[in-house]
């Protein structure tokens, strides 16, 4: 729906061209064209080391039906879903605490959550490696109480742990902004009428903030699904995710068409997740009206 203040571009062609042209061309040449090229590559095959012929074949997509690749996709979806769920469990109380903190405390708590988020992803992943190693800090502590050493690194546990570690702030912030918009008098009413805190949270807070919670889950799920560094550095040979397989096709196997097809499947999965979230949000809106 066009908003009332919007001006028809024809009425002010000069100013419109001045602000529109450069970003639109940039987006076209340095983003859409590269994507279009790998889309075209996904229907081609490698002729020799440097040449790829685009002949409209679907064989790259057919190869994905191989159980090996299906397994990688299922595993990636499962890791991303598990990560998102764990982030929700860990992050919800944090978001709740920030929402009802005083203004001063709010700033500090947000900073507490945001600072690791601003720290380089590689540095954070590397920090986890140092902590989780067999001779690392966590196993030392376990050793003091007579446990372990446990293999905490280069396995599936490390990958999920790492994904939760790096994605947690991604979920806390949208959760906080969803909870912050709630009408607090509704919560007070619920408590006044005798519902406990837990019941209030599940029957008042969660239903009201659901659209915001869902979009927060999506914001966490998407980068988790496409993670490359975490499974690469923390995982073992059997904890590869889609991104690692794509990287191998491009860098080592030199099978660009197949890598392109895998990239586009990952992209379609991402769009599917976004669309699903959009439909749920819309349906809820329809119910409310």
């Amino acid at each position: 729906m066009p908003e009332a203040h919007e001006q028809n571009w024809k009425r002010a062609k000069g100013p419109f061209a001045a602000v529109f042209t450069a970003p639109a061309l940039w987006l076209l040449f340095f983003f859409l064209v590269p994507l279009a090229i790998i889309w075209a590559y996904s229907f081609g095959h490698t002729v020799d080391l440097t040449e790829i012929s685009i002949d409209g074949t679907f064989s790259n997509y057919a190869r994905i039906a191989d159980p090996v690749y299906i397994q990688v996709f299922v595993k990636s979806l499962w890791y991303a879903a598990l990560t998102t769920f764990l982030c929700l469990v860990v992050g919800f109380p944090v978001a709740l605490a920030i929402t009802f903190a005083s203004d001063r405390q709010k700033v500090w708590l947000l900073l507490l959550i945001m600072l690791p988020f601003w720290t380089n992803l590689l540095v954070r992943t590397y920090a986890l490696m140092a902590v989780l190693r067999t001779e690392g800090f966590v196993n030392d502590m376990l050793g003091w109480v007579g446990l372990g050493p446990w293999p905490l690194l280069h396995n599936n546990f490390a990958v999920v742990f790492g994904l939760v570690y790096v994605n947690l702030p991604f979920l806390v912030l949208p959760l906080y902004s969803a909870l912050d918009r709630l009408d607090k008098s509704l919560l007070e009413a619920s408590l006044d009428l005798g519902a406990g805190h837990i019941r209030t949270i599940f029957e008042v807070v969660v239903p009201l903030a659901l659209p915001g919670i869902l979009s927060g889950l999506l914001i966490t799920f998407i980068p988790a699904l496409g993670s490359y560094l975490t499974p690469d550095l923390l995982g073992g040979p059997d904890s590869q995710m889609i991104a690692n397989v794509i990287e191998r096709q491009f860098k080592r196997a030199n099978d660009w068409p197949f890598g392109s097809a895998l990239s586009f499947i990952l992209m379609y999965l991402t769009f599917f997740a976004i669309a699903a979230q959009g439909i749920v949000a819309k349906r809820r809106k329809g119910l409310e009206q």
């Binding site: 450069a22 590269p34 954070r124 190693r133 001779e135 769009f271």
Partner: protein, 279 residues
């Protein structure tokens, strides 16, 4: 305010406080361990043997690492400036004008935000190796051109989102008043609209800078063999082994991040304070 009696004052409840402490330990313990061990006087980074600054010395003598760090900062700085300009322009275009295929354009603009990094990385790899080969014998910083272009592509849509959210609170009558009083489009833009956008521009610049400094995957695919950024360099060191030198380099990056954050918050705080004081 009656701070104690408030039923919704969750922060004063001990289970929640305990939870916050545990989450803080979870988030910060790895980082603090890393920082602590960067001062450890032992090649194997496990046992504490005493304080040393040797690893920092090693970092400052490692020309490869310093070059990579310089590259990263240069890329981030240029990418931030261009992203800020492009992002602000496209935000104003979408906020002010109605044009054909606008929803499609807005969807395309959101793509760099949602497309998985790896997909964009391989797209850039193909683009810069086959379609528009970036000459690799250019003098620095032009040799970084391909990476800078890629970074701008994924940063400026984020800036646009932030600026557009800010523009929603702009009172268009102010701009019209300026024009009625004889200001040109350009003057009205610079003197009325840009000052209103300023907090969003600061936030956007901060975000673009961090996004660029943080990026590993896209750079990993875009970078030629001779242009290495800090994350790419650290990655190759990490793959090799966990060494105290990497700890020191990482600590330096954490310090840079904290400093930038502090500066950004201070600038924004001052700005908001000034505006609220002015009203």
């Amino acid at each position: 305010m009656s701070r104690k009696a408030a039923p919704l004052d969750y922060l004063s409840r001990w289970p929640l406080r305990l939870w916050l402490v545990l989450v803080a330990i979870f988030l910060y313990a790895p980082l603090f361990t890393l920082i602590a061990f960067s001062f450890n006087d032992s090649r194997r980074n496990i046992v504490w043997q005493g304080l040393t600054l040797d690893w920092y010395g090693a970092v400052f003598n490692d020309t490869d690492l310093l070059t990579a760090f310089g590259n990263s900062l240069t890329i981030a700085a240029i990418s931030t400036v261009v992203s800020l300009i492009l992002g602000a322009m496209v935000a104003v275009a979408c906020w002010r004008f109605r044009f054909p295929l606008k929803p499609a354009f807005e969807g395309a603009l959101a793509l760099p935000i949602v497309v998985p990094e790896i997909c964009m990385g391989v797209a850039m790899l193909v683009f810069f190796s086959r379609v528009m080969p970036w000459p690799d014998d250019l003098p620095w910083p032009f040799s970084l051109g391909a990476i800078i272009i890629a970074h701008i592509s994924f940063s400026f849509p984020f800036v646009a989102v932030i600026v557009r959210a800010r523009l929603a609170s702009f009172n268009r009558e102010l701009e019209e008043a300026a024009k009625d009083l004889g200001a040109s489009e350009w003057r009205a833009f610079m003197d009325v609209l840009v000052p209103h956008m300023k907090p969003a521009l600061i936030a956007g610049a901060l975000l673009a800078f961090t996004l660029s400094l943080d990026d590993f995957v896209i750079t990993f695919f875009t970078a030629g063999p001779d242009t290495v950024t800090f994350p790419v360099k650290v990655y190759s060191m990490v793959r090799f082994s966990v060494t105290p030198e990497v700890n020191a380099a990482s600590t330096l990056l954490i310090v840079v991040t904290v400093l930038l954050t502090a500066i950004g918050l201070k600038m924004q705080g001052k700005d908001v304070g000034k505006m609220e004081g002015g009203q």
